[in-house]
């Protein structure tokens, strides 16, 4: 007998007699248990989902999660130089010595004389796997800062040390405006889109306005005027779209994408380490009747505090809002 027939014979007749079996009634019992188990599982799943939603909402509102040790709790502005130690385990491990603290430092821009910056320097993620934790830290910090800003009517900037490439810095500024809050995002090619999305979500939760600004690299073949003009156009577009009542989440994404595309087109993606970067920022927003006046300044990361250019954009809130005035002040 060949092996295959031996196998057939053995499998067919080699097994011992089966024991008594529970049969159809046993199956019915198992089916009932299965239905109960699945029902309980569904209830637990719904409960967990609800808890997760509450948790996320709370985190977005800055109500939960780790707090900054020494974080001011009363209606007093943190003084310049105020240091808030990050909770243990809150920040990713850092290569910087002592850099993982949150500190309140003088505003780097002369225009922001009444503001404070909250700077955090979490560890640079060393791989894409670490990005989510890094992102969560930044999001949490943003939530906390927004909460503080909302309570105290002061301005904060969260300066998060970069993405995978060191010079890619993401800066968020919360600007006090007479009639509403503005969270400003300095969007940076290649790293900014997720931040803008998160900020957009936060803004919707808190009912804030989100304005991304552009960020471009000075390049040998491109004069600063070109960058200024492009950035001014972009900012004007952002503001205009904002007052037309479009969903912020949609135009932020589009705007950031446009910024990315423009940057990639004009200067390439070679955002080399240590090169000067141009930072576009809305320094001031005031209201004048039904108009909102935005002052936009342009600096570089190497020469913070020095404004190369200021541009004024006036947005009038009317039935058909539009940029009604643009004025470039200086360009050095």
């Amino acid at each position: 007998m060949d092996l295959e027939n031996k196998i057939r014979q053995t499998l067919e007749h080699g097994a011992p007699q089966p024991p008594v079996f529970e049969g159809w009634e046993g199956l019915q019992r198992r089916a009932r248990r299965d239905r109960i188990k699945r029902g309980v599982g569904a209830v637990v799943a719904v409960a967990m989902l609800a808890a997760a939603v509450v948790s996320v909402t709370s985190r977005l509102n800055g109500d939960e999660g780790p707090t900054f040790a020494g974080e001011p709790t009363e209606l007093t502005d943190p003084a310049v130089g105020y240091t808030m130690t990050m909770p243990k385990g809150w920040s990713a491990p850092t290569e910087r010595k002592g850099g993982d603290d949150v500190s309140v430092t003088p505003a780097l821009s002369g225009d922001l004389t009444t503001s404070a910056w909250v700077q955090i320097h979490p560890e640079q993620p060393r791989s894409w796997d670490e990005m989510s934790a890094f992102q969560a830290d930044k999001d949490h910090a943003t939530g906390r800062a927004m909460k503080i800003a909302g309570q105290r009517a002061i301005r904060y900037t969260l300066s998060n040390g970069g993405g995978l490439c060191r010079p890619c810095e993401v800066v968020r500024t919360i600007i006090e405006m007479p009639h509403r809050w503005v969270l400003q995002i300095d969007a940076i090619a290649g790293t900014s889109a997720p931040d803008a999305d998160v900020a957009g979500l936060l803004a919707m939760v808190d009912g804030m306005t989100v304005i991304p600004t552009t960020f471009a690299e000075r390049h040998g073949t491109m004069g600063p005027e070109v960058v200024y003009t492009e950035a001014a156009k972009a900012v004007a577009g952002f503001l205009e779209s904002r007052v037309t009542g479009e969903d912020p989440a949609s135009w932020i994404t589009d705007a950031v994408a446009a910024d990315y595309a423009r940057t990639a087109k004009t200067v390439g993606l070679a955002t080399g380490y240590g090169r000067p970067y141009l930072l576009w920022r809305i320094y001031r927003a005031t209201t004048d009747g039904d108009a909102t006046v935005f002052q936009i300044g342009i600096t570089t990361t190497e020469e913070v505090g020095e404004t190369f250019l200021e541009e004024t954009l006036t947005v009038r809130r009317a039935e058909k809002p539009a940029i009604v005035e643009r004025h470039i002040v200086t360009a050095s």
């Binding site: 196998i7 499998l11 067919e12 097994a15 198992r30 089916a31």
Partner: protein, 179 residues
């Protein structure tokens, strides 16, 4: 000798009513238990697997597209794999020890050795061998149950046979030298 006709009990379209399921259950459960035993080598595990696979099949009864006999075997193979994954290395070892103790084929010594060697085959090879030689299922249905291409079924069966040949010849050598 079993023939292809042996698989006739598995034939038929997909029934749609609960009564049909009960009829299917009554007709197939013993064979399913036996199949499970040939995978696990333990009657308690085999009965659990067979009943659990039937519960899941009953749940999906009206959605089943393939022959229910194939569907329920595919469910059972997956349940068995999940069970082994959860059991972990130590439990698997204990399981195999218990299995080798329980298995006591009533036939001759050669069959006992062969049975034991089949139980020691790697899981996927054992699944393919049992489905092919015991359930007598065509290659495409074995492939469906195992979740692999038909060519892989051939390969699994071929490698399983080769391993059995090798082990049986080693046993014969050992028996000969022992005598």
């Amino acid at each position: 000798m079993r023939t292809r006709a042996r698989a006739s009990h598995l034939a038929g379209g997909t029934p749609l009513t609960d009564e049909d399921f009960k009829a299917f259950y009554e007709a197939d459960i013993d064979r399913l238990r036996a199949f499970a035993y040939r995978l696990t080598g333990d009657w308690a595990d085999a009965d659990d697997l067979a009943q659990d696979a039937m519960v899941r099949t009953m749940r999906a009864w009206r959605r089943i597209k393939e022959r229910p006999q194939v569907y329920v075997r595919a469910v059972m193979v997956n349940l068995h794999r999940s069970l082994l994954r959860r059991a972990g290395t130590e439990a698997r070892h204990l399981l195999s020890m218990a299995r080798s103790e329980e298995v006591a084929p009533a036939s001759d010594d050669d069959s006992a050795v062969l049975w034991s060697e089949i139980q020691r085959l790697p899981l996927r090879q054992r699944e393919a061998i049992v489905l092919h030689y015991y359930e007598d299922l065509p290659q495409n249905e074995v492939a469906h149950i195992l979740g692999c291409p038909p060519g892989t079924v051939n390969s699994l069966v071929y490698r399983g046979l080769a391993r059995l040949r090798e082990r049986l010849s080693l046993d014969e050598v050992a028996a000969g030298s022992g005598a």
